[in-house]
């Protein structure tokens, strides 16, 4: 973190000052809007329950400027987040590697997400942002934040359930393969009894038992080619995956499909979204820096940039 210390002191803190002034203005607009909206709604409820028609109409009319104020707040907040991403996040990413490309509004394509096969349920709502792509030696990789949900019920009873929220990472794998191999955490909620039972019929997959007891305790592996799964999951690669799980958390899952490795790392918070109600300090920017580093850790830990095989 020493190099980040210097980078923060000499470069980031300077760019943060004007942004901090902008943030304060947005926060003030937000506080005033929410406060006025609250007061107006309370007045309206009191008027309606007290049968005071005139007062209710007045409260209702006064809602209009409040709504306008809320729209202004929303737009200002959007503007602040966009300039924060351009001026701070982009610089952090380029500090890690100047050749990385960052697009704050783009995300991993839904096709790639679906093809990864990591999630059994099809999403009804697919959103994401903060797309980064680049190369580590010969290895192309990309990642973004994703939030996918499925809909339960309809009309007034509609509710949305998260399928995945976190970092979705894709990279060109360094070995040739043609089959499909999936590595889920042992406690993945998708792998209920019913799905495990159906795996061989519905997915054309079989469970792959590997010799590492430590790995078997943590992960469950399915694939359509027993030899190929072992070709990918060598003893040393399994050790590295265990280590990576220790670093990223239990929910990490991997798939090896279409010569790519896909990694899904669940993260609860929004990735690069600054809060307008609290200042972006050293700690927060350090967290953003560490988030980008997670991806480099995945590549380095799994040695995806080693090209010892015949894959170009």
């Amino acid at each position: 973190m020493n190099s980040f210390d210097q980078f923060f002191t000499h470069e980031l803190s300077e760019s943060l000052q004007p942004l901090e002034a902008e943030r304060k203005k947005v926060a003030q607009t937000g506080i005033v809007s929410f406060l006025l909206a609250g007061i107006t709604i309370v007045c309206f409820i009191i008027a309606v329950t007290g049968h005071s028609t005139g007062f209710a109409i007045a409260a209702f009319i006064s809602l209009i400027p409040v709504i306008i104020l809320l729209v202004i707040y929303h737009n200002r907040r959007k503007g602040y987040v966009a300039s924060f991403k351009e001026k701070i996040i982009r610089r952090i990413i380029n500090f890690i590697d100047p050749l990385l490309e960052y697009n704050p509004r783009y995300c991993i394509h839904e096709n790639d997400y679906t093809k990864s096969g990591l999630f059994l349920q099809e999403p009804d709502r697919y959103q994401g942002d903060d797309y980064v792509e680049g190369k580590r030696d010969e290895t192309f990789f990309c990642f973004s934040e994703l939030h996918t949900e499925h809909k339960v019920g309809s009309g007034k009873n509609t509710s949305w359930h998260t399928i995945f929220k976190g970092i979705f990472f894709m990279a060109d794998f360094n070995k040739n393969f043609s089959g499909r191999t999936y590595v889920w955490s042992e406690h993945n909620p998708q792998l209920n009894f019913f799905n495990k039972l159906l795996s061989s019929f519905a997915w054309d997959l079989e469970k792959i038992k590997l010799e590492s007891t430590e790995f078997e305790k943590r992960f469950i592996v399915y694939g359509n080619d027993q030899v190929e799964a072992r070709y990918i999951l060598t003893p040393s690669f399994m050790e590295r995956m265990i280590k990576l799980q220790g670093m990223m958390g239990e929910g990490i899952s991997f798939s090896f499909v279409n010569t790519n490795i896909n990694v899904a790392v669940p993260v609860k918070d929004e990735l690069f979204e600054p809060s307008v109600f609290s200042p972006s300090d050293y700690q927060k920017l350090g967290d953003y820096y560490n988030t980008v580093h997670i991806v480099f850790d995945i590549i380095d830990e799994l040695k995806l940039n080693q090209r010892l095989w015949n894959k170009e």
Binding site: L210, Q226, R230, Y231, T234, S236, R307, W309
Partner: protein
């Protein structure tokens, strides 16, 4: 009533026997399948040996003896009329010879300049890892089969079928780590 209960029990036992019998056959076939996939990988390796010898013989003057021995062993392995145990033994010897050649690469930095060698290096690494994977699959299939023939109640059916233990593919310590060539 007792008669019907007896029939139900007999039907249950019959189904259990059929299930266990089929499961044992499936596990035995899985070993054959694994052995076959290992054979495919071995053939891939054997196909690469002449290319390897051809590419390195101009550089590796001190290893000519090993290279000749490797060619002879490869020819013997390719004849195809070896028993399984002989095949495994011969493969272990080929493995040792390859290991010694791979270790010697470090002494020949001029090999780095050869594009042919670099390409071959990738192909050999790939073949070696695929071979290691198929060996692990074979051992997993044998382990599964052993569990089935030793555990009750399938052990009873296995003894009636006279199913024998199979030999594990012995992966020598030196070969457990796949001999990845990396002279960069």
């Amino acid at each position: 009533m007792i008669f019907f209960a007896g029939i139900i029990i007999i039907i249950f036992i019959l189904f259990a026997v059929i299930f266990l019998y089929n499961s044992l056959i499936q596990k035995r076939n899985a070993i054959d399948n694994a052995f076959f996939s290992m054979d495919v990988m071995l053939k891939k390796r054997y196909d690469l040996i002449p290319q390897l010898v051809e590419t390195v013989k101009g550089y590796m003057h001190h290893e000519q003896q090993v290279l000749t021995r490797l060619t002879e062993m490869r020819e013997k392995a390719m004849t195809g009329n070896l028993a399984s145990d002989d095949k495994v033994g011969l493969d272990n010897k080929i493995n040792e010879a390859l290991q010694s050649i791979f270790l010697s690469f470090a002494n020949y930095p001029e090999l780095k300049a050869s594009q042919n060698f670099l390409k071959l290096q990738g192909a050999i690494n790939e073949a070696e890892e695929q071979l290691a994977a198929s060996r692990r699959f074979y051992n997993a299939a044998v382990n599964d089969y052993h569990n089935a023939i030793e555990m009750f109640p399938s052990s009873i059916i296995a003894s009636v079928m006279k199913l024998q233990h199979k030999t594990y593919f012995n992966i020598p310590d030196t070969a457990k780590a796949v001999p990845v060539i990396n002279i960069n």
